[in-house]
Symmetry: C3
Subunit: 348 residues, 3 copies
Amino acid sequence: VEENRKKYTLGELAELLDISLQGDCAVMVSGIATLAGARSCELSFYHNSAYISDLKSTKAAAVILSTEAAQDCATNILLTDNPYLAYARASRLFEKSTSSNGQIHPNALIDSSAEIGQHVSIGPNAVIGANVRIGDRSIIGANVVIGNSSCLGEDALVYPNVTFYHDVLVGNNAIIHSGVVIGADGFGFARNDQAQVKIAQLGGVIIGSDVEIGAGTTIDRGALEDTVIGNGVKIDNQVQVAHNVRVGENTVICGCSAIAGSSSIGKNCIIAGGVGIINHITIADDVTVTAMTLVNKSITRKGCYSSGTGLSESSVWKKNIVHFRHLDTLSNRLKAVESLKNKKNTKN
Amino acid sequence: VEENRKKYTLGELAELLDISLQGDCAVMVSGIATLAGARSCELSFYHNSAYISDLKSTKAAAVILSTEAAQDCATNILLTDNPYLAYARASRLFEKSTSSNGQIHPNALIDSSAEIGQHVSIGPNAVIGANVRIGDRSIIGANVVIGNSSCLGEDALVYPNVTFYHDVLVGNNAIIHSGVVIGADGFGFARNDQAQVKIAQLGGVIIGSDVEIGAGTTIDRGALEDTVIGNGVKIDNQVQVAHNVRVGENTVICGCSAIAGSSSIGKNCIIAGGVGIINHITIADDVTVTAMTLVNKSITRKGCYSSGTGLSESSVWKKNIVHFRHLDTLSNRLKAVESLKNKKNTKN
Amino acid sequence: VEENRKKYTLGELAELLDISLQGDCAVMVSGIATLAGARSCELSFYHNSAYISDLKSTKAAAVILSTEAAQDCATNILLTDNPYLAYARASRLFEKSTSSNGQIHPNALIDSSAEIGQHVSIGPNAVIGANVRIGDRSIIGANVVIGNSSCLGEDALVYPNVTFYHDVLVGNNAIIHSGVVIGADGFGFARNDQAQVKIAQLGGVIIGSDVEIGAGTTIDRGALEDTVIGNGVKIDNQVQVAHNVRVGENTVICGCSAIAGSSSIGKNCIIAGGVGIINHITIADDVTVTAMTLVNKSITRKGCYSSGTGLSESSVWKKNIVHFRHLDTLSNRLKAVESLKNKKNTKN
């Protein structure tokens, strides 16, 4: 995994990350690792006091950290207020190149009406439909299918085996992982006497800039209006976004969450993994929802929200769930005891 | 998104939908929109009293509604007992064509033993196995793989990047969205001393007519007998249907639900999103299960069923889940207080 | 579905399964079926007393069972201590061949630097990247994409439409079902003032031998170190395995479960369907977690664990969840009644 990685001196790193170096600027670094795992040619970072003993004993070439930890570090230091952010930026310096080679594979099938930007890369067996537009420097992986009139911005990275239906608009700098399906029909039916009658899904999907979408995630097209994902939204794997959903800017949605039809999530929210949000719900800005919570009503104020019972041994759990089914009765029985007690108190 | 849409006069629409028009039959309509969003060339519909003020102020060319709402409508009216159903049928008049162009792409790979019906369309890089049969007017998208001896009915629409394993039978009018996998092995193992031993999955999958299957959904083949999906069943995105499951006619299964092995769901059920149904469960006809419910026992009577705790602020939730773990104790303590009280009452 | 299946005499079956036959060794068997469904040319098995009446009336050619059930069987017997395990092994004798035909389809695209083993089969439109290695007798399905420097062991079976990113290592005897994505970026961001900053995912994925991975499952690459799946692990459909997760040997993970970043699961665990395991959790060996449980803390001892409320009719459920929100208050009220009672008892 090493061969494609770049090498930097600590001096170069300090300059690239625009942070100050305390130590030997000539030391060569060829990767990043954890404090415990780092070799003498690797950079590490410290941002969580649980790892203080690893910091003291690390063999890393240098550690990204903040002032208060500097005294515990026995190696070179890259000093910053936000070590985790600096680590994020440093990590990008070591990744395998994901920039376009500007080559369109001869086995790609591109409709003659498609507008392909400058220096775009398109992989084998990709199928690009009529009136599609792809922005400069974007990369389309092998076996990707892009439906008619869809549009992808500049510097986008679409991994293999992604499917866009027609009329899907995606902004600049998108990262779309394998298995993603964008623009499939929303799930809408009207019942007649005998059966479910399909409602045609006439809207599209609009995805802003700087959005990342994880493997196997599905985002449905709108019924009448569009499904809308704001700028800077980050969506993890196997998330389901139903028709007409709106997700506000910079919101983060973790793996396996599902957002039902016409619900709206605010800006800067964090939706943890496995969360379910029912349809026609509104969630305010700056809301956090913890893992596997069912959001069955709107959330109007910022804050942190949860549901579920927490973990028990199954033997204990089985005893307790019996009483959950009778909580209302239990509450009434308590009220009866209290009222009797109060009467007695009054009598006394 | 407009260019492919058809245009109709209100007179034509009334005739196509077989409902009565109150207003100007010559007005031209080129799309459908919400009451609030509709322009003067668009049709809208009203079926929910929450939108009464939108009805009064809509700019739509006409509104589909029922008699009791007619007085509040300031534009042309398409009158019907079931406006939502009429909207569903009207929506189909405006969708981009999904009918077959009868063309088999030169890059499709079709086994010589496959039987392809009349006027079938097959996209590039589709791979059609031995002894496959595809019914008349069906559409197979790009990069679809259909395993040996599988069979697809007439007028089916299979979107790109779908995978059928061998011996998967699908009826007429199927709509299968991208990323769907039908016929993968059921999850069956027998444990020996050292490891899990795979049980070969020898059954197939049988899917009825008029079934829609959402993006990323997986339906496993049976272990010995077949996995069976009834006529008219509608399945949303990312649903998991395990081996030997049976789903009754016209049942609706919403996104991210999972049905474990050998369970059986009745007819006309509504399984909301994120529901989990454990294995070897039977669910009666006409059952509704609400979002994210765990169905851990059979449901023998029609009705609506739920589980979970409902949403709280996390700070409140953390306090309460502590007590959930001791509900059995709490119930016993209450009983003790009650019995003491009763003794006193007796003494008194 | 019959044509490819093999036929065996009971004598041959007894020898192949290395178990003893009580009955006619010449009887010919061409398939396996349930006790109730078996025809006179089919084998069946009995391992669950719920099916005792089916055993008495079965028309099967022979039944795999253990000594204590022999007296209730009216047909030929294949006798073993572990009938379910013998059934698993017998089932493999009747499956359609999944061995490699050694053919590389002319439409497969294989980088010149890839090392392809002996008698490997590669399907049409498969795309094999630079420096990929594929072991002897492995099968790569149609439209599979394998990224640079990934490595697949011997006797692997990769179904159509699977995606491996770069630097994914998979051991021998792997079975990878359609729609699987291995090696997509883990979900890691550092927040700055305006937006989420992506953390490059520099680790890989290491998967042991004898691993099966179900349709639509996603396994992300590590952030710095690798995501690691142990030997003999069986993963069902639509499971999400986040970056840096470790799963111990022979653990079974059922459909739609999700394991968040950096969590670690022990050996021989059974994770039922729809389970959510939060990040940075450790689970001991030999742990069972029941369906749809949220594991929100580490599990340090073997045993069976659960969460959730169990199923109710929705009308009852709505009444009870109200009280869940006030369990803490309810508990305090009970304490107050108890303490008053105790004071009175003291007074008395």
